[in-house]
Symmetry: C2
Subunit: 345 residues, 2 copies
């Protein structure tokens, strides 16, 4: 069998307009014959992005048959599921059906995977929509999809429920990046430390900094801090409002005896927490912004305004092996496995 040579980003599948990447493209080639570096997936379930599903449901007046028609129409017209009203997609769950000879990765035919790249850039063909589950934005289908060489995926593990694994894969980048940036002996502040992503980051940070380091879990809500304390993922726990920069500075100054943090990880899901992150960090330290509510200009001008020589990183949802790192946290700590199973599965 002969294969055509594919581009790693999938630009060979772009029909209109020519020369752009698959995500911004209007129309993709969804022929289900793989190129040399592609993966063919038998799709079982589409996890439609929440904003997108809500929009489709509204247009359909809540009618399930109408929802099916709208989704079929989007995919038939564009070769992918990119909601034209919201611009968003979602992700999918399926089984690996075929792997191109030049695809680089640890996949095998028959593996059950979740794609961790958006449906808005994934070539998709739907034969039939079997079931719509509006309460969880899921659609069971008979269909096929293509994963590009650059496309991220997570192999669904056999040792935990699917829903639990998915809830962790969703935020897998944060703990994996935490592992890369924290060094033994570091003092690490995790802002928003009581949330899903925050608990994983605290746990991973504690593993990296070791006995000579210190992990400080900060959250705006007592309830979240109690949750973090129940799994013992940090050394110190503080309830502080992350939009109050001066309060954060004073609290972190006190708990670090005037030293401040080597690393500040921000996973707070509300705006205006940039300055508190900057002030909690010592000179030449590292602030890692993982929250999508982060404003680039507030961070850049904020650090300059207070003359703070800190390195500020934009959270990248991907780093090599991120799915494994995140799932391993649950395997290594049954308290977190149990807590997440209660909360998300």
């Amino acid at each position: 069998m002969e294969f055509k040579k594919g581009d790693i980003y999938g630009t060979h599948r772009v029909l209109e307009p020519k020369g752009v990447l698959p995500q911004p493209a209007d129309k993709l080639d969804n022929t289900m014959e793989i190129y040399d570096n592609e993966v063919l997936i038998d799709v079982q379930t589409l996890n439609i992005d929440s904003a997108s599903f809500t929009e489709i449901e509204k247009r359909a007046g809540g009618d399930v048959e109408e929802i099916k028609k709208i989704i079929m129409n989007i995919v038939e017209t564009t070769g992918k599921h990119k909601n034209p009203w919201t611009g968003s997609g979602g992700m999918l769950i399926g089984k690996v059906a075929a792997i191109g000879p030049n695809f680089k990765g640890d996949l095998r035919v028959g593996d059950k995977i979740a794609t961790l790249v958006s449906l808005s850039l994934t070539p998709l063909k739907i034969e039939e929509i079997k079931e719509v589950r509006p309460e969880i934005d899921q659609v069971d289908v008979k269909g096929q999809a293509i994963l590009f060489q650059s496309g991220l995926y997570g192999i669904l593990p056999k040792d935990m429920p699917k829903e639990l694994a998915l809830s962790v894969l969703d935020v897998a980048g944060a703990p994996a990046q935490t592992a890369k940036i924290c060094k033994p002996g570091d003092t690490v502040v995790v802002m928003g430390g009581g949330g899903k992503s925050g608990i994983l980051c605290c746990w991973q940070a504690k593993r990296q900094v070791g006995v000579n380091g210190k992990v400080i879990c900060v959250d705006g809500f007592k309830k979240s801090i109690n949750r973090a304390m129940s799994v013992k993922c940090a050394d110190e726990y503080l309830v502080v409002n992350a939009t109050d920069a001066v309060a954060m500075y004073n609290e972190i100054m006190e708990v670090t005896e005037g030293e401040l943090a080597d690393v500040v990880i921000n996973v707070v899901n509300i705006p205006n927490t940039e300055m508190a992150s900057i002030l909690a960090c010592k000179d030449n330290g590292l602030v890692y912004f993982f929250s999508m509510a982060t404003s680039f200009t507030k961070a850049a001008l904020g650090a300059e305004g207070v003359g703070k020589d800190v390195n500020m990183l934009i959270g990248n949802g991907y780093t090599k092996g991120h799915a494994n790192v995140a799932l391993q946290v649950l395997r290594d700590d049954e308290r977190i496995m149990k807590l997440f199973a209660e909360l998300y599965a």
Copy 2:
């Protein structure tokens, strides 16, 4: 003489509302008696932020006396120059009149300095407005101001015209950060490399990467590339539209023989250049976003969408000694000194 102890960020000067930083504060204490870590400045000129000056000029119907009244009123009411309609300030030029005994820095009484922090957080008292120069947004005053311990400044050098020095100090963070992140042997792409900041970054990058490295200056305009070529600040020069990610990827692939860049520095002043920066960078490379037009979410989701494991830094306008680094470029290269003198002085 006894001094009261000041906070490094100047929160001791905040009158309303209590507990916030000087920048967001509504009212500062502008008593011109310094605390132990403050600097007193005899102010000569206010460089009003361009957006702010335009707004004030409009409100005054272009009348100079009315402009004076509006500025005086802002400063008398709030103790600083933070334009209530734009939220912005500007910077000032003046002479150091007194230095608190606990201020840490290289200042001496009599030094002529430009403050590199915003007027929107600088305690200011104006006795008299002497002259308004609307064509360059400048206001000459008799007055005094306070610099906090955290406040940035640049000592105006004696070996070049004031306007030339100011134009460089304005973007001093970019070349100084470039010096920190580029290593010998690196391949560096500077996007927007033909502009003021871009030329300084190219030059500094070339100095860092040495003979085994390569600096690629990319700009969207032939005119800017010609300017960069005239001062020989790079090894390669390319005209590429930075909003066209695929074109950028192809061009950088070609010029690096498929290796891509170790470091990508983005100083392009238009939106939607995040993806081109990410694609130009190799895995585990570093993308440095210095443009205020950068979108945090476009960068974060962009890298994830193409599965690219790159480190992305938010440009911090400040790093230790940044003013010296930037001014030194002009001293070390008379071609750049001459070009900038023509363009900006």
